[in-house]
């Protein structure tokens, strides 16, 4: 298992937040509302493609809806490998940040 990049980690966290409803639009919503960034679908798709290739995501295709102009959507879930990757990355982050709380103003 490789390392997850920062945006990959954010994307996986967003997918975890969304449980069964994670696809392009909702992932972007979560990223944009919970972080301070503006994200394009292109960036999300690129990252999702990479995560899929690394075998960290399970993908299912949901039936079309009217608001999508009759197009289907791809739903993503973290698989056990994906969950492990998130856990690993987060613990790396925590360990690295340990002791820096006063400077980083992290509670």
């Amino acid at each position: 298992m490789g390392y997850a990049g920062e945006f990959e980690l954010l994307t996986m966290l967003a997918i975890a937040q969304l449980a069964d409803e994670a696809y392009g639009v909702t992932i972007r919503e979560v990223l944009e509302t919970r972080t301070s960034r503006t994200v394009t679908l292109g960036a999300i798709y690129k990252t999702l493609g990479r995560l899929e290739a690394k075998g960290l995501l399970d993908v299912t295709v949901a039936p079309p809806t009217g608001e999508r102009g009759g197009r289907r959507k791809k739903l993503y879930r973290l698989n056990p490998d994906g969950l492990a990757a998130v856990r690993g990355s987060l613990s790396d982050l925590r360990q690295l940040a340990e002791g820096l709380e006063p400077e980083l103003e992290v509670q």
Binding site: Y23, T38, L41, G42, R68, R71, R72, K73
Partner: protein
Amino acid sequence: MSRRTSGPPALVRWLLRLLLPASEREFYLGDLEESGRRSWAGEVASVVALRLGSRTRLAGTGRAGGLSFRVEELRTDVRLGLRRLLRSPAATFTVLTALSVGIGLSALMFSLIDGALLPSLPFAAGERIVRVQRVEGARLSAEAFQYWMARQSSFEGLGAWVERMVNVTIDGERSEPVEGAALTATALPLLSVQPDLGRLFTEEDAGPGASAVVLVGHEIWRTRLNGDPDVLGRTVRLNGEPAEIIGVMPEGFGFPMNQQLWTPLHLDALRPDRNPGSLSVFGVLRAAVPIRIAASELNDLDGQRPRTTTEAYPVPVVVKEFTDIINPPGRSQLLAGIMLGVAFLVLLVACANATNVLLAQAAVRSREVAVRAALGASRARIATQFWIEVSMLALLGAAGGVLLAAVGVKLVRNAVPPWLAPFWFDIRIDVRVLAFVAAGAVVAAMLAGITPALHASRGNAHDLLKDAARGTSSRRLGPLMGRLVRVEMAVSFVLLVAAGLFVRSAVNVRRIDLPFNAEGVYIARVRLPDAQYPGASDRAALIERLEDVLTSIPAASSATIATGMPGFGGWRRPVAVEGVDDPADPDLQDTRYFAVSPDYFSMFGSSALAGRTFDSRDDEAGLPVAVVNQAFARKRFPDGAVGRRVAFPADARGAEWLTIVGVVPDLLAGGLDRELEEAVYRPMAQDPPASFQLAVRSGTAATAMAASIREAVAGVDPDVALFEMNTMEASIRSANTVYAWFSALFLLAGALALFLAAIGLYGVMAFHVARRTREIGVRMALGGGRGTILRFVLRQGMAQIATGLVAGILLAVPVAWLLRAGLLDVRPFDPLVFGSVLGVLLVAGWSGCMMPALRATRVDPQVALAAE
């Protein structure tokens, strides 16, 4: 009524489809649609980045690509380019003007074509909505319509309408005329349009014994009904008859043209004794059924329909796009093609011009290039520098072009009177136009930039430095610049010939010799309220009194009343000729029909060619009579018309036979476009109409008559409304503004091309003279007189112009031939047009050469020789 849905614009969708891998496309586009309005540019850019791989910066990932070196280079080039552009303001200005004009005109033409010439109706099935007509506007009967309705398979459905002017009275206010249409119940559902309030018509509304209902337009609802939300169920009076409002149509809806009032069309009641009109028919084609197939099906059905006549009826059916309103069918496409061609040619001249200026610059800069090359700049690097400069010019030019086009669009919108513009006209600069302009800028940059860039980067540093030292680089560029001048001249010639031909057409409209004297004539239209004048005798009495008061206006020398004045076109009615036609045939040929008062012919200086015109004998009690015009007599009675009989089965009195008592000259019965010129005139007393025109001739200024006429009419009945009051000449002309429109367009394009070509020529000649100062100095030092030098420079310039003009003539001939369908009374090879264009271009070319040539003669040999 919104044309676009909320998803990404078509251009964005198209780009994404192109860029995205097939496996991801559906999901991505779905997400995009679902997430609503966004910065589309950002989305497209991120997908481009996705496709290009990870080297570029990917928005949101924070990863920097490895392109920083190239970006730095680019920045330097842009800075350098800007500095250069500012250092030679004249050249920059010329190139910018040329490109702005070229791109601006292209964008304007594109907007016009897209919004006015070839738009589709703003409905779901817009592109499949078609008109069904008979050739040359011949009559389309209710029988034929119903026969098709029952049997056709090419259309999702057919609808029909009859246009009518309606006097609308709301709450007893003064009644006002409104353009309305009676529609079949099928019509509005076919358009899939929903009312803002209330409901559409049902089959029952058009059935026998149904109570009168009406749909009103948004405009009427807002202005005359004060936007009343409880308007449903209110009663208004239409031509005096009460009708209940059942719905309000959405804003901007004006089907079929710009109507604001709709009533159910009683097809079964459209009996010959009820309605003189012909149906207008439209349909929605089934998906993938071509127009051609639909037309041939209707023609086949016509052939199977039981016939009652021996003549070769019915007239063939044509099917064409609904918005294609210029006759004949296909004319709109032709005009669109012409307009795009014109825009392209102007863009071509603009690019040639820009290229020439840039070439001249390149020549001047050859030393700079040589130094850079000697210092180790690669060819690619030098060419890139030129490209960047040109691209910056193109971008600025495109911006200027959009600005010019925006101004043009505004002017055009102001120039089209609202009553002339159908409801689907939507002239504006939209995304597609912007895309078109962007493409124009790229093309312009490529065309204008490629040659100087190649030239600048060609050859080795040594040669370039040598050239620069001797000033000989102009010799290498000279032939190319000369060729470009020839191209400009040739294209300008073609454009100006086209412009000239259209200007002549427009002048012809203005100059059409009216075959009658319209001077000092004031006209107005009158629609009698049906309820107050229900019977023929009521109307006859009123018309007689109106005639009396009008002729007794002190300043009036004569006055007349008729259903149509000369030059306006009369009603179309199917006519039966005794012994030839069966009056019961539903597909009789149309003629123009006029009911006129006895003074009609004498007022317009016309008298009988055979037999007599009308007089006091021809009253209600007299023998039913008619007078026909020459066109009618020639077509239907080659052996003499007087004494023969005709009938109008659609007449209120049924198929009464009318005896022809006279033949009169043609009085533009078909209007200025001379469509259907055959006419039959009846004495007004024998068929008094409810709607007519009145005309008063006066020695005094016609405008002064307006008040007198109003006063006189109000004295007879204050409830009789007068509308469309104007001088006769102005009214006739205003109906024929199309040619003026197009001639203005072409004249503008031609003038721009000429302007650009003249600037270009001047620039090139000035450049030549400047570069050859040394040679001229030598010639003068060796004893060449001023005249010799002048001739020397002029000869060279005029030789280029002459070959350019010859090429122009050769090109203009086929172009003029293609244009012939759009011209009015002008031969495509009109010698006046060709001659004057030739003259104008020669003069422009000559003066372009002359100024630099004169400057050359003022060269002081000593200064010239020291010039290096």
